[in-house]
Point group: C2
Chain length 327, copies 2
């Protein structure tokens, strides 16, 4: 009996889940739900598309509902709403609001006698539990996180709002000297400017004041002012040809010492390089969908996070096979 998955929201993330599920022999995608007119949504695998209002009447046909909406506007309401009727998983990534979101989703899941998991993905997600495990192993030490090289949607949007800008991509890039200092175990103190730089590719309107646009970008508070920022003006053709992907990645380091005199240094590094941020995130979510369904059939209820999931539950193989082949 395969785990019956449904997707809510058919954007980049939803399409990524559709693809990830297709490569999992123990899962099948049974429905996509959308707020749009279902007639206008063509799925890659021809899985049926329904309006989101039809979801609850299909509650007995779905084992885990994967919520692929945005953290700003969709998930804060959608996840608790659906958590009462379905086992649900989301990738809520507004770090500061996680405790509040957790409380809301937990209450709904418990009311409906269901399980849920919030904030699956890589950050929050894989990065979170690597930071956490490494802290537990090396209590005397420091954490460092670097993001990129990757496209930041928020920073790209901020540039697009500037007068005279047609389109833009912003890459967040770790500064290699800082990474090497951390990797060497030197425990450097690093300012914001020393850790990351920002590189922008901007398509401007004909006749726009390029110097003014550049100045507005590099001095923008919160987004760019604290970083060394490079602005490149390019044509729309070049943007489409060279900057149409959604790569991302990053590194989590823990550097610490052990021993009574604290002289033995250790460095733990977790690094990912992703051609497609949404497809990788979807793949993480899909593995966690498997895990929470197993926890549900084993009696677990309420809201979970990546911290609560035993890693063996993520893998399709049995516990016995995992011990024999992967331990």
């Amino acid at each position: 009996m395969k785990i019956r998955i449904a997707i809510v929201g058919y954007g980049n993330l939803g399409r990524g889940v559709e693809s990830a599920v297709s490569f999992c022999d123990d899962m099948e995608l049974v429905a996509v739900f959308t707020r749009r007119d279902p007639q206008n949504v063509d799925t890659h695998t021809n899985v049926p598309v329904y309006h989101i209002d039809k979801a609850i009447e299909m509650k007995n046909d779905i084992d885990v509902m994967v919520l692929c909406g945005g953290s700003a506007n969709d998930l804060p309401e959608q996840t608790p709403e659906l958590a009462e009727h379905f086992n649900v998983i989301d990738s809520f990534d507004t770090h500061a609001r996680i405790p509040e979101h957790f409380a809301n989703v937990d209450a709904a899941s418990r009311k409906g006698d269901k399980i849920s998991l919030i904030s699956a993905g890589w950050d929050p997600g894989l990065f979170s539990f690597n930071r956490m495990i490494s802290q537990a192993i090396l209590p005397n030490g420091n954490d460092y996180t670097f993001w990129g090289k990757g496209v930041s949607q928020g920073h790209s949007d901020a540039i697009r709002r500037i007068k005279g800008v047609v389109d833009a991509r912003q890459y967040t890039i770790p500064i290699e000297e800082a990474v090497e200092q951390v990797r060497s175990g030197n425990n450097p103190e690093l300012s914001t400017r020393e850790k990351h730089k920002r590189v922008c590719y901007v398509v401007a309107e004909d006749g726009a004041d390029l110097a003014a646009i550049e100045k507005e970008i590099v001095t923008m508070p919160n987004y760019f002012a604290d970083y060394d920022t490079t602005v490149n003006f390019i044509s729309m053709e070049e943007l489409v040809a060279n900057h149409n992907g959604i790569p991302h990645g990053g590194m989590v380091f823990r550097t610490g010492v052990t021993g009574f005199n604290g002289t033995n240094k250790h460095v733990i590094e977790y690094k990912i390089q992703l051609d497609s941020n949404p497809e990788f995130t979807s793949s993480v979510i899909t593995a966690y969908a498997r895990a929470i369904y197993r926890m549900y059939t084993d009696g677990a209820r309420g809201c979970k996070t990546v911290f609560d999931v035993a890693p063996g539950l993520l893998h399709p193989a049995s516990a016995e096979e995992l011990r024999r082949n992967l331990l």
Copy 2:
């Protein structure tokens, strides 16, 4: 109420656990057990030392027994024997015999209504679950593991058994070109010789036939014949001055593709660099001792592995704090 830890076996690993526990506010070391005469064992923290025969009469004073013996001769008998009376954890690392060891320890723990965890450490351990999680996330891909730079005790011992050799250290070193090929996502096929090289530092007897020793090393089946091996003859003084540490480390990679046409590549890398292999291993074991004691108080029984432990249980902070500060 602190978690009361006891150590069985006071070698490098046992001393590492003593140190690791001293940095955990929620744990206290209450006893060291030894097969030697306890009078002759001086602990760093002056924790009481008892003969191993006294262990069972102290079963009510100990929450988790950390077994620090060797996988070849000690643990196969010691872990099941003590698992009937104590919650126990070991670092059993003979991969091929894990299923058998698991079965024996599981039966003993269940008989005594206790919990146990085998094969804690970094390989098996952290490397195992990184390989496993990454496979679960990227089912279309390849695994690569590199070990080192680090001292291999088994290979050093093999050299010491050669006629005319006084002492020796053998370093296993990943070949940087192979690592870079993997890191670039090229999915190379790598032979044993292409992945690691071996570098040996040998102290020979006065007048020994150095050419014969070198030939015996580099042609030794299983240990050296399949690798490019370099032999350096050095003085005992130099060995003690420059090769007295026990560094180790390594990397686990998963490289894979996502998407229906499989064009988006991803690389996950987990890398550790350790000044002291035994002190780091002890630190991992200590965190897992905390985790299994929490699982025990929550009702779990029988033998576990790193695959069965929810990561949040490793960290001293509460689930709520972890969600707020680390997710």
